[in-house]
Amino acid sequence: MVGSLQRLRSHLPGSLAGTSQLRDVHPITVELRAALSEDRVRDDGAHRSLMSHDASVFDGGNSGPVCYPVSADEVAAIMKIAERHRRAVVPRGAGTGLAGGAIPLGAEPIVVAVTKMNRVLDIDEGNEIAWVEPGVINLDLTNHLKPMGFHFAPDPSSQQVCTIGGNVANNSGGPHCLAYGVTNAHIVALEVVTPSGEILELGGLDAEPLGLDLRGVFVGSEGTLGITTKVAVKLTRNRPAVRTLLLSFSSVRDAANTVSGVIAAGVVPAAMEVMDQPITVAVENYVHAGYPTDAAAVLLAEVDGLDDGVDIDAERIRSIGLENHATDVRLAADDSERALLWKGRKTAFGAIAQIAPDYYLHDTVVPRSALADVLEEIYAIADRNDVLIMNVFHAGDGNLHPLIIFDGRQPGVLDRVHQAGAEIITASLDAGGVLSGEHGIGVEKQKFMERMFTADDLDHQNRVRQSFDPGCRSNPGKVMPMGHSCADIQALRAVPRDVWG
């Protein structure tokens, strides 16, 4: 899945890019190996090159040694070694981030991949939580919880591969976060290692933990405040009754209006996802789920709860759909039909990868009532810039995912892709929206932060960063626009380029 996503490669400023070359074993690597083990610190060119990328379209990564710790103590040891050598550290999960958050920038930072910390440590039904290590795969956790009647609510489309630590760092969402909330609502406590190597517990299992909500601030901080080494996730009880509807429309506007109509009527479904025609066709050809290929848009809506209530809500959604000119409303007959419909939605990006040479997935949020207008503008942006844009998105919370499809071999196409992306961001902000609903800022949207925030706003965000990481050594060069984070620039330049030579 991930491999197919590493397609378009644009370039960060050349001054940040580097080359890996054959070299002697560096003293840092020697120290790291002494703290971990020989085989869990990789320093070969192939490995570094792999870790210099993630699933985003961004290049310019420059990985130093790659560590695979198995405990918080090892992570703390890495942090201390990094601090001693004034070297930056980049936390990494599965590398499925789409905003470039896991790309190591600057002078060969130490990459800390937590994928070997992948145990479900304790399922504590009394407190309705599970303690898990950050490398646990999202879907593995839900499958693990299933026999006990629980699941982990955030279900990113990448859930087969992405890690809980990555979900925490990006405050990830998914189709079913409409009613249940994104990751932050499901994290009770975190064990983290600070950039100076302290192991701290943030938050707590108790109802209202003492002090500032540092747990809440850490979630979504994209690896810039330290490394998560243990997570207490909330267990969500599986609902006994589920109804899944597939509504077809002859215009995207009708689908969007249905979505805002449902919310306005006081129904909060578990999920409301929209796909436009081009992507529906691609998905149908890929999974054969029975999606109508002649509809301009389809809405996948799901309600869950108790038997009678879900019937009432499903009926409301059906009638609001019909009021908005739905051409067809289908209720999934059973679990297997439901699973097939969801498989279609969740493999939409995989379906595109089969047919398109290259694509770039965007992520913005607009007020639900502006969905129809902004979508119309997005199609106009596609025309203006001569690129193809398909839309598959978390409509219930106004979270757009325009997918720009192109052929990277065409000269000049990248400029048009980025121009279209910038225009999408502008259209979303103009409609009263925000820069990102779930992918985060990473390196992708730093330069747009000033469109949403004043210098004072950014200064205060930087104060949060400085409180955890005064030396700006944890994932430097991310989130904050460069001018607002001087220390980041220092961290990126701290080590001369040829230090490994």
Binding site: D124, G126, N127, E128, N170, N171, G173, C177, G181, N184, E198, I199, L200, E201, L205, D206, A207, E208, L210, L212, D213, L214, G216, V219, S221, R237, I263, A264, G266, V267, L306, D308, G309, V365, P367, R368, S369, H394, D397, G398, N399, A422, T426, L429, G433, G437, E438, M449, E450, R451, M452, F453, T454, D456, D457, H460, R463, V464, S467, V479
Partner: protein, 317 residues
């Protein structure tokens, strides 16, 4: 195209004269405190008597029921906001105890029916506050989903006005359930009652009586109430009175070991861990490592310690 928007964010804040006036009133030096409804006035310590007192602006700025958001000045009474929301069949997570929106957010305590209404920390989508330097600062955003930058709204919830004075917030609202009914029974296992129903909005236990709030579609509530009969003889009742007293924060599983000698009379929120007790909770404090981050946060946001001096959200309690 880009150039047109460079100043959009700046315009949003500085052109609101109400916020600008409030910022001027807070100013940039000398100790200053902020008062809401004084319903939780002693939370986190006694305000330094030298602090000059200010109040946040009042009023509902914008309410968009179909977006499930309300923009409200921090000095607005929670009751006024809830009255406006109720007219459109909605409510919020804020507890209604006579105080203001800013106070409820700054204290950050959840409502008794937190299982149904959600937590305060998840309800605050955007904050506008006046910094120690007397500047209006904006964090978060107006949409229900947003991961743009660091989460200043979460930092403000429960910070007791020690990092900035809230001027305006955007809150997430929720549809009012069709039916809300309390049920009670004596001498039943409150944990068994909690497990018996799907997603109750509150389960209260005072050592004798278990009270459960069921909300949702009428048919669902009826079915759940019927299911409760397998645990005990639950009957419909009025909303139980919860004594204010001391507010404990325990893990939900710890409630099974509540010792009446320690609490004296109590009401416990099963599935949550909050306990209202006659006696104070045995003292709790931050770990040394967390304290360091706390101290840095305070000195980064309020270098001279002028905001709400005497208050400390992390003080041992």
């Amino acid at each position: 195209m880009a150039g047109d928007h460079d100043t959009a964010a700046a315009t949003l804040v500085s052109h609101d004269p109400v916020l600008a006036d409030f910022a001027a009133e807070v100013g940039s030096d000398g100790p200053v405190g902020i008062e809401g409804g004084r319903t939780r006035w002693l939370e986190g310590g006694v305000l330094d008597p030298d602090a000059r007192l200010v109040r946040a602006p009042v009023g509902i700025v914008d309410y968009v029921p179909e977006e499930m958001i309300v923009t409200v000045r921090a000095g607005t009474p929670v009751a006024d906001v809830h009255a406006a929301l109720a007219e459109r069949g909605q409510r919020s997570a804020l507890p209604e105890r006579g105080g203001t929106v800013g106070g409820a957010v700054a204290v950050g305590q959840n409502d008794v029916s937190v299982l149904g209404r959600g937590t305060v920390r998840s309800a605050v989508l955007q904050v506008r506050y006046v910094s120690a330097e007397g500047r209006v600062v904006n964090g978060g955003g107006p949409t229900v989903k947003n991961v743009t930058g660091f989460d200043l709204p979460r930092l403000m919830v429960g910070s007791l006005g020690t990092l900035g004075f809230l001027a305006e917030v955007i809150l997430r609202t929720n549809p009012m359930p069709a039916v809300s009914t309390w049920y009670r029974a004596d001498d039943v296992d409150p944990f068994a009652a909690h497990r018996q129903v799907l997603a109750p909005s509150a389960v209260l236990y005072d050592g004798t009586t278990t009270s459960i709030l069921l909300e949702g579609h009428g048919v669902d509530v009826d079915h759940q109430a019927a299911a409760l009969q397998q645990v005990g003889a639950f009957v419909q009742c009025d909303q139980p009175v919860v004594p204010e007293g001391h507010r404990w924060s325990l893990a939900p599983a710890e409630l099974a070991r509540l010792d009446r000698h320690e609490t004296s009379d109590f009401v416990a929120l099963i599935g949550v861990g909050t306990v209202f007790a006659d006696k104070p909770q045995p003292s709790r404090s931050l770990s040394a490592g967390v304290q360091i981050i706390h101290d840095r946060m305070k000195s980064n946001f309020d270098p001279t310690g002028r905001l709400n001096p005497g208050r400390n959200p992390g003080a041992p309690r």
